[in-house]
């Protein structure tokens, strides 16, 4: 499935906290990150990928145009998606995550803005955020590829296109050569070494 990276501008995160941020003791448990697309027209969002950094729950709101003439409205497309099963422990804390449009609560057409609402209820972490945020839209259909002969085998029509493509991927990897291990550790029969290298 091809996808195209959408250039985006990620604004700095804003902490939502009751009271004065400077004087109160506790840490904010909610952060909001706004993502805008200054040079792109409203598009259909396919996938969001990011690297988590100690965020426990994620909600996403999108600003969406329902039709050509009505003004854009904010809609929640993901609510409290769990990134860390136990917010007090390290599980899932630094994982890479992908979210697809089929996981969203609404359809993702004509998006003009994105708002990520990060929650970390545990007071144990000094900070939390998401990094390496990347937004993708659907790419053009892949150009015709010469498929190997076996594909002319009758494929059951019930299989959706996605599964067929994945099956093709499996077969293509299978057809590629494997790297055979030779097992030699020396270089041309020589294993006279300097000291161990630190880099």
């Amino acid at each position: 499935m091809s996808r195209v990276l959408v250039p985006c501008h990620v604004k700095g995160s804003v902490a939502l906290q009751v009271g004065d941020v400077r004087t109160s003791q506790g840490r904010p448990g909610v952060l909001v990150i706004d993502v805008t697309f200054p040079s792109v027209a409203p598009f259909e969002l396919q996938e969001i990928t990011f690297k988590n950094y100690y965020t426990a729950f994620l909600s996403i709101r999108v600003r969406q145009y329902t039709s050509a003439h009505t003004p854009a409205k904010w809609v929640t497309c993901l609510r409290d998606y769990c990134l860390m099963p136990d917010p007090h422990s390290e599980e899932g804390a630094q994982e890479y995550v992908s979210l697809f449009k089929h996981q969203m609560l609404c359809d993702m057409a004509r998006i003009s803005e994105l708002r990520l609402i990060l929650r970390q209820p545990s007071p144990l972490w000094l900070s939390f955020t998401v990094e390496e945020l990347q937004i993708y839209q659907q790419g053009p259909k892949s150009p015709s590829v010469t498929f190997p002969k076996w594909l002319s085998h009758p494929v059951p029509c019930e299989q959706p296109a996605l599964l067929r493509e994945m099956w093709a991927l499996t077969e293509m990897i299978r057809a590629s050569h494997t790297s055979a291990r030779i097992g030699r550790f020396d270089v041309d029969g020589c294993y006279d070494l300097n000291l161990l290298s630190y880099t």
Partner: protein, 551 residues
């Protein structure tokens, strides 16, 4: 749903890729070609007929076992955006800590090299090669001068590194609060609690038969032992890895253990494997490594001094020296947080074409390393098979015991699991030991790092390693360590120093492993623990007496 399907497809592709390079693939191809001669294979239904033939002849089972083996060893494919380091270890600060620890080890090895003026590696002169070949089977008789060599590190050095492990994003405040860890490990990894452990280790429950308890002389064999042995023989006849792994959770009969372990680890001694071992032997003969002296020293210091293992000294050299030359071990570094040390051919510093790994397998042995091999010598006598079993055990389990990682079977998680279990279920004991400066982990760390090898009688140790294989996890080591403390709790409450506590806990040779698992499950209400322990004491005394009688 779509995500799961694409994950599955990726896993399948990965496994197919791996198996394509294996011996099994060429064997299956040969068998398929040979089967064309058979009358039942028809051209119209070629694919189905060959599949049927594989099923009947047992080749499908071999393939299933190989796939099962790959699934057990290799982690699930990670996110496409994740770099390879992420697969080794997802937490950045742990990767950094492992990197600094490795740098220290390299510095230590380099300084030993320069101080003693011994090269890291050298080619043996022909005369020396002949001599080594002649005494290959009795290398233990050699008494080289190893006084100048010292082990690169010992488990207690590694413990100090783990104690100082800190997450920079974690609240490590000085003031005591609910977030303070009372034990030595200060990182908040997720560990299982007793209800979760009970669910995970359900076959170790009190109502299920175990070898080690229910095969003792007082229990009539018709109740459990006979049936268990019969099932074991059936599992071996079927040659099914997954079934063997399930079966061995209740312990393995001594007579079947060697075959069962080989089945679970998917080791079958093919001529190619024996040839590979001979090739490694040739490498040992041709090149002499500094690491060899470390291995010699370690064997002399540990296994040779052990009442159970000194007879296997020669085997240990034959396995460990070859292990150091085995480049196939390098592949496990893809999912090990550690990285193999690098060096350059003399005179070619910095040129990538002359970069090599040192030692060839990337593993620098530490003090006690040979104890991973020693118990296996009771099971396997043929050197190439012994070698294969050890290598597979190392790349599946043992490497996690001496590298810094967040994996649930990694040593950091095991330490935290041990401390958490003790704190939760034996808080008085934990507090008392802490007060007298005898943090329990300081005593139990060396047990866990060595997987209890050298700290338990061999028959008990093998029952423990049965469970490691059965559950494909090392968490049982932490549970056993906590259970030992629970068992000794009454006496430990009376000690007043670390040395005395060590002494008391160290007399564990008489322990029977199997009864100790339910021991910990029962210690949930501290006030009645004492009463139960008195019961257990008398029961276990009679059991250990009978074990001594049998052996």
């Amino acid at each position: 749903m779509l995500q799961e399907e694409s994950d599955l497809s990726l896993i399948i592709a990965q496994i197919v890729q791996k198996l394509k390079g294996s011996n099994l693939y060429s064997q299956l191809e040969r068998q398929a070609w040979a089967s064309l001669q058979r009358p039942e294979i028809k051209l119209e239904s070629l694919k189905e007929d060959i599949k049927e033939f594989f099923k009947i002849s047992g080749w499908e089972k071999k393939l299933q076992n190989a796939v099962y083996s790959e699934l057990s060893v290799f982690p699930l494919p990670s996110h496409p955006a994740a770099p390879p380091e992420h697969l080794k270890e997802p937490l950045v600060y742990m990767r950094k800590a492992q990197g600094s620890w490795e740098k220290r080890i390299l510095k230590s090895l380099n300084s030993m090299c320069t101080e003693l003026s011994i090269p890291l590696a050298r080619k043996r002169p022909v005369g020396e090669q002949k001599e080594l070949l002649n005494k290959w089977n009795e290398m233990g008789t050699d008494e080289p001068d190893l006084s100048l060599f010292r082990p690169v590190y010992a488990p207690k050095d590694f413990l100090e590194v783990l104690i100082n492990l800190r997450n920079p994003n974690y609240e490590n405040g000085d003031s005591l609060s609910f977030r303070t860890h009372l034990g030595l490990i200060q990182v908040p990894l997720k560990v299982k609690d007793i209800p979760e452990l009970k669910e995970c280790f359900v076959e170790l429950g009190l109502n299920i038969g175990q070898l080690g308890i229910d095969d003792s002389t007082q229990v009539p064999p018709e109740l459990f032992e006979n049936e268990h042995v019969r099932i074991g023989q059936k599992v071996l006849a079927e040659q099914d890895s997954a079934a063997a792994q399930q079966y061995i959770r209740q312990g393995s009969p001594t007579a079947l253990r060697a075959e069962l372990w080989a089945l679970i680890l998917n080791i079958s001694s093919q001529p190619e494997d024996v040839l590979y071992y001979e090739q490694l032997k040739t490498n040992v003969i041709q090149h002499d490594l500094l690491v060899d002296s470390l291995i010699y020293k370690d064997v002399k210091l540990t296994a040779s001094n052990d009442d159970y293992y000194f007879v296997f000294e020669d085997y240990l050299y034959q396995v460990l020296l070859c292990f150091s030359r085995d480049t196939s071990v390098l592949s496990h570094f893809a999912f090990n947080s550690a990285s193999p040390p690098k060096s350059y051919i003399r005179g070619k510093l910095g040129l990538e074409e002359y970069a090599v790994f040192y030692p060839p397998n990337g593993v620098i042995p530490f003090h006690g390393f040979s104890m991973y091999v020693a118990p296996l010598c009771f099971l396997y006598h043929e050197p190439s098979k012994l070698y294969q079993i050890f290598r597979e055990m190392y790349v599946r389990f043992f490497f996690r015991l001496h590298s810094i990682s967040s994996h649930p079977s990694g040593i950091v998680s095991l330490c935290l699991l041990f401390e958490t279990l003790l704190q939760t279920y034996l808080p008085q004991l934990f507090y008392h030991l802490r007060e007298i400066g005898a943090q329990p982990l300081r005593i139990s760390f060396k047990w866990m790092v060595r997987a209890f090898s050298g700290y338990l009688a061999t028959d008990q140790l093998l029952l423990l390693w049965d469970r490691i294989l059965g559950y494909n996890s090392l968490e049982i080591l932490a549970v056993l360590a906590a259970a030992v403390f629970a068992f000794r709790a009454v006496n430990l409450m009376e000690v007043t120093s670390l040395a005395a506590a060590e002494n008391l806990a160290a007399h564990s040779e008489q322990f029977c492993t199997a009864p100790l698992f339910p021991e910990l499950y029962r210690v949930q209400i501290p006030c009645t623990a004492e009463l139960r322990q008195k019961e257990e004491c008398s029961l276990l005394d009679s059991k250990s007496h009978s074990t001594e009688q049998r052996s």
